[in-house]
């Protein structure tokens, strides 16, 4: 018997929801981390350590840490800084655990690595040394590195997602990086410049289960699949209600199954299409899509779902979860076939992740 924790980053601190394998009854704890805005809360399944990346308008950026499943927290930003004179790090945006290290993406965009479980940080300089950096433009939320995707077998490889710069890849442990955006549209450029080398606004990036070459991306301008590690991308947006959204979540076992939450459009309010909530699922790598609505509200849904606020679990009967800008958390214990509201009246939810722990 194991327990499942849902890790929520919100505009007002971290929250944890806990249940057993049945995932029917949930207990809510929080807010944690002195109610700091936390953009991303993750855990290391090997140790159960939880970290939260965020920043506070008063006190700046920090990564919070709990080694007792949320009962107590510490924080550190030692080394999480650019050299004197450069624009300071405003907030931490994303986290990833990889091969004994913890990575943090920050605003303004950059990548940091910790080899002591988040107590101290070192700058992965190679990314900001890329010759394209003077051209990097911020997206609506700023110039943020919001996605970190380590290669599951090759510790030298990693992809990162920066708004609105695009996807970059390293094959040498972060010393050098190359853009991986071929085939990604940039609708706001002049017609003959819509497929640049970089400058696309990636919103979400994930890897298919068991296939390290297959990536999926939700972009400001469309949904995409790559079967060659991001060297080239193909649109998979046909059949979806819009080309705009933020999060993307891959099935934990099936590389052809993917979950998305399209919003109505970037200039139309960025809420659920027709104000009716739906998660969209493909079973064939994006060739066809099904709307999953059973149990989700079908009127008056003027909420959005942000880039890190959709997650899956690894339990039998894969669970899918998403948190809304209006503070509701919805969950499914059957791969999206049916849904329930698991929590409401929370602060705006910025991220959702899962952690399975022994009973």
């Amino acid at each position: 018997m194991s327990r499942l924790l849902l890790l929520l980053g919100t505009k007002k601190g971290a929250f944890l929801l806990e249940s057993d394998e049945a995932r029917r009854d949930w207990a809510l704890r929080g807010p944690f981390c002195e109610t700091w805005p936390l953009n991303h809360v993750v855990a290391d399944p090997a140790t159960g350590t939880i970290w939260g990346a965020g920043g506070n308008e008063w006190f700046g950026p920090a990564v919070w840490k709990s080694t007792d499943l949320g009962r107590s927290w510490t924080h550190s930003s030692r080394g999480l800084a650019y050299p004197e004179g450069e624009e300071p790090v405003k907030t931490a945006w994303s986290l990833a655990v990889a091969d004994g290290a913890l990575y943090a993406g920050v605003q303004p965009a950059g990548l940091f690595r910790s080899t002591d479980s988040g107590e101290s940080w070192e700058h992965v300089r190679g990314l900001r040394d890329h010759p394209s950096r003077p051209d990097w433009q911020p997206g609506g939320a700023g110039l943020i590195l919001h996605g970190i995707l380590p290669h599951p077998e090759d510790r030298a490889q990693m992809w990162v997602a920066i708004s609105s710069v695009g996807v970059f890849h390293t094959a040498d442990g972060g010393r050098s990086w190359a853009p991986r955006n071929r085939g990604i549209r940039c609708d706001y450029n002049p017609e003959d410049q819509r497929y640049p080398e970089y400058g696309q606004c990636v919103h979400g990036l994930t890897m298919a289960a068991g296939r390290s070459g297959r990536l999926y991306q939700q972009n400001h301008c469309g949904m995409y699949r790559s079967d060659d590690g991001g060297r080239s991308w193909q649109s998979i947006e046909q059949g979806l209600p819009s080309s705009f959204g933020f999060p993307v979540a891959a099935h934990p076992h099936d590389p052809d199954t993917l979950f998305l939450l399209p919003l109505n459009g970037d200039s139309l309010g960025r809420f659920m299409p027709d104000a009716k909530a739906a998660v969209w699922r493909t079973r064939d790598g994006g060739r066809s899509w099904q709307a999953l609505r059973n149990g989700l509200p079908q009127e008056g849904c003027y909420f959005g779902v942000l880039r890190q606020a959709l997650a899956v679990d690894g339990m039998a009967g894969t669970g899918v979860y998403f948190g809304t800008s209006s503070g509701e958390l919805y969950g499914s214990a059957d791969e999206g076939e049916s849904w329930r509201c698991l929590a409401r009246h929370l602060p705006p939810i910025l991220s959702v992740e899962t952690l399975r722990v022994p009973g």
């Binding site: 002195e34 006190f59 450069e86």
Partner: protein, 87 residues
Amino acid sequence: MATVVLADALARLFPGAPREQQVDAADVAAVLDLLDARWPGMRDRVADSTPRIRRHLDVFVDGRKAGLETPVAAHSEVLILTAMSGG
């Protein structure tokens, strides 16, 4: 010794840190160095890497708004306060 008074929200980030402390320092930057030695990480919470006092914090020395280079005298009062901010 100068007296340093921390905003409640700042002291809460460092369990055990008293709101009021005595320091022997020549300027505000040295005050932060001393606080950081006692409570590791406190300097980062008050000043950024520019380096300067964070935008939504105010430091006052003997009633006057101060920066990192503002001198601190033997019997000065140094207030580290949160400015109005939020959302």
